[in-house]
């Protein structure tokens, strides 16, 4: 079922790229419309899956990726509709499309583990997915900042200079996305810890719960990610790490977040395997 939104996201991505190259406003509106339709269809898919398992589908990794893509698309659409700035679409859509391929190819089954049947768990995953969506936006904003920064600094005003929003706007949007993402990351981690404490006495034999410690690769990388973003938030305010440094940090942080979200989740983790 995740193939339908994927198809629409591919169309939106191509349209955003055409808009970026040609800078024709009507193509831009078409791109936004395609993405809106894609998000709507995706909402429907997630709604169906929610009704099926009685909670938002995110215990299975494939479905969690789908939910993440959905949140990212909605966050991007919010950003675009509030700033009236479409140039970022061409950078966001590849992320959206690549990730959406996973749930489209491996639908996965949502396994109803009684351990997960807790509002704490829902809040934990929802906060983290939303944090990752913010970081994805921040990472893309950071990359575009660096592209344009380089052009202005080297005095070769070229392709990106004429198409991207001003450095200041990119920096402010990046700062907001990082701060919001960091808040949700913090919330997600705290809620996760609280939930583990509560769940352990209920299911003392559960291997997942027993593996939840700092030496678990997923939890370790998550803490590393948290440390990077905490530094980004603090350094901006105290050390004047704005602009290119902040952009670089947000791209690095996003790389770690994605590392945790995909390869570690699929291959190395010993905790967080609820499928």
């Amino acid at each position: 079922m995740n193939a339908f939104p994927l198809f629409l996201y591919v169309i939106a991505g191509i349209t955003y790229a055409t808009h970026f190259a040609r800078r024709n406003p009507s193509i831009g509106r078409a791109a936004t419309t395609a993405l809106l339709v894609g998000a709507l269809v995706h909402t429907f898919v997630i709604g169906m899956q929610t009704m099926e398992v009685r909670h938002v589908p995110f215990a299975n990794p494939s479905r969690a990726v789908s939910t993440f893509v959905w949140l990212l698309t909605l966050s991007y659409l919010y950003l675009e509709l509030t700033t009236d700035e479409r140039a970022m679409g061409v950078f966001i859509l590849p992320v959206v499309v690549c990730l959406q391929i996973i749930p489209a190819l491996f639908p996965g089954m949502e396994y109803a583990d009684p351990v997960l049947d807790s509002p704490w768990f829902g809040l934990h995953v929802a906060s983290l997915l939303f944090a990752y969506a913010s970081f994805a936006l921040a990472g893309v904003l950071g990359i575009t900042y660096m592209l344009q920064f380089k052009e202005i600094k080297k005095k070769h005003l070229g392709y990106f200079y004429t198409r991207l929003p001003s450095l200041q706007v990119l920096d402010v949007m990046n700062s907001r996305a990082v701060t919001i993402g960091w808040l949700f990351l913090t919330l997600g981690v705290i809620v996760g810890a609280v939930w583990t404490m509560q769940a352990r006495p209920l299911a003392p034999a559960d291997p997942n719960l027993r593996a939840m410690a700092l030496d678990d690769p997923k939890i370790f990388v998550a803490m590393l990610t948290w440390a990077i973003y905490s530094f980004a938030v603090v350094a901006r305010r105290t050390l004047g790490w704005t602009g290119r440094r902040a952009a670089w940090l947000s791209a690095l942080g996003f790389a770690f977040a994605m590392l945790n979200f995909l390869p570690i989740k699929y291959f190395v983790t010993t905790s967080h395997t609820f499928y």
């Binding site: 800078r23 024709n24 406003p25 344009q148 202005i152 600094k153 005095k155 005003l157 200079y161 004429t162 929003p165 001003s166 450095l167 200041q168 706007v169 901006r236 050390l239 004047g240 790490w241 704005t242 602009g243 290119r244 440094r245």
Partner: protein, 442 residues
């Protein structure tokens, strides 16, 4: 009715002559009224900028309009006709339409693609409209030209990129800071380019302009000119830590801002970006200052090369813009021709309607027993038959490819249906000229 244009522009006349033929905007109203009062012209718009003085008119007799416009120009500006006649150009109908569209698109400007011209065309049209000197001919062609100007601007990059050093500096500042409102500008040394740049920045709504010069009096004079505040020379380095944009233009033989000084200032800046525009030769700012994080340093050569790049990019867009203009001229002329067929179409419809009515009347006796409802239906059916018969000829007449063919066809239609005799009291429908805007108050 013809669309006719006569004028001088930077392509045909030297600047001193253009100055002598310039209409200042205060006189425009009187000028268009004076033109319109001449017998051969019914509508007029005067477009006067520093690069052109052009008079657009609607005239039934372009040859006569030409003579009258030359004598008008001569009398109005007190310039003998023989002085400017060799520099005057005159165009009519599709050539004049093409010229107006090219002007509105910025293709005929001295700096190709400059953005002000479309506004100037609109203003010229509006001030003529305010004097009631604009009728259907000029109204349609000018309104169409606004659309062409807008289309060229959105579909091509003709107007993109600054083409003067000071505008290049301002557009860079906008790309770094986004909105310039509330930004603090420090001008060091008073010179022509720094004054110009400060004025452009002021018009972009920067928050404050602070001016430092070795001679305090110079700083004060520039401050009064650009609407800023003068500070003593010693305060310059202190200002560096709070400024967003710095413009330097002193005659100093050695750099006045060094890397060490700026690094010290950066400590107080909390990573906020600094844009330095060094227009002095020899340079006022050490080149290595540009290596500092969050400092963007541009000297006059950098800006000059941006201007050159933008100019060549604009030149590359000219062809696309020209093809848009040609396409729009063709569309406009086709539309005008389709309007030219309107009188014939109207006469044809009237003729058919008259026949239908008279036949219904003739049959009135035989229709006697019908109920009013059935009668209405008969009326409806006959009306629909006439409508259907006329749809195709109407479309074909409107879509004819050129005026000659159109004249031949309308003449043929008029003869076949004897439109001349039956509608002798109405405007002649088969006129060979396109008469798109003829009022038809029937």
């Amino acid at each position: 009715m013809h669309f006719f244009l006569l004028g001088v522009s930077h392509r045909t006349a030297p600047v001193d002559l253009r100055e002598r033929l310039d209409f200042s905007s205060r006189d425009l109203g009187a000028a268009v009224q004076s033109v319109t009062s001449r017998p051969s012209m019914t509508e007029s718009v005067v477009l006067s900028t520093c690069n052109r003085s052009e008079i657009y008119v609607a005239s039934s007799d372009p040859a006569r309009a030409r003579d009258e416009l030359v004598s008008f120009l001569s009398g109005y500006h007190h310039v003998p006709a023989h002085v400017f006649q060799p520099h005057v150009f005159a165009l009519e109908d599709s050539a004049a339409v093409a010229h107006l569209f090219r002007v509105a698109a910025g293709l005929d400007s001295l700096v190709v693609g400059e953005p002000q011209i479309l506004g100037q065309v609109k203003d010229a049209f509006q001030s003529a409209a305010d004097q009631h000197c604009v009728g259907p001919v000029l109204r349609h062609v000018f309104r169409w030209s606004f659309g062409v100007g807008k289309r060229v601007r959105t579909e091509t990059a003709l107007g993109e990129g600054a083409v003067s050093v000071s505008f290049a500096a301002v557009s860079l500042a906008r790309k770094i800071f986004g909105n310039l409102q509330g930004r603090r500008v420090l001008v060091v040394g008073a010179g022509e380019i720094s004054t110009l740049t400060a004025q452009h920045l002021r018009s972009q709504g920067v928050g404050a302009i602070v001016i430092a010069s070795r001679t305090y009096a110079h700083a004060e004079a520039l401050a009064a000119d650009a609407g800023g505040v003068a500070v003593p020379w010693e305060g310059m380095l202190h200002e560096l830590s709070s400024a967003d944009i710095v413009v330097t233009a002193t005659g100093s033989p050695r750099p006045i801002i060094t890397r060490a000084q700026l690094e010290a200032a950066q400590a107080h800046r909390r990573g906020s970006p600094l844009f330095i525009i060094d227009v002095a030769v020899p340079r006022d700012v050490e080149a290595s200052v540009g290596d500092i994080e969050q400092v963007f340093l541009y000297n006059v050569d950098d800006l000059q090369s941006i201007v050159q790049e933008n100019l060549s990019r604009r030149a590359a867009e000219v062809e696309r813009a020209e093809s848009i203009v040609n396409e729009e001229v063709a569309r406009f002329m086709a539309w005008r021709r389709s309007r030219g067929a309107v009188p014939t179409v109207v006469a044809l419809r009237q003729r058919f309607e008259t026949i239908r009515k008279s036949e219904l009347q003739r049959l009135d006796g035989k229709l006697g027993p019908l109920t009013p409802d059935a009668r209405a239906r008969v009326d409806e059916v006959t009306r629909l038959i006439v409508e259907k018969l006329l749809v195709e000829p109407t479309e074909q007449l409107k879509a004819l490819p050129d005026e000659e063919t159109q004249a031949a066809y309308t003449e043929a239609v008029a003869r076949l249906f004897r439109l001349h005799e039956h509608d002798a009291d109405q405007t002649a429908p088969a006129s060979p000229e396109p008469t798109p805007e003829r009022p038809r108050d029937r």
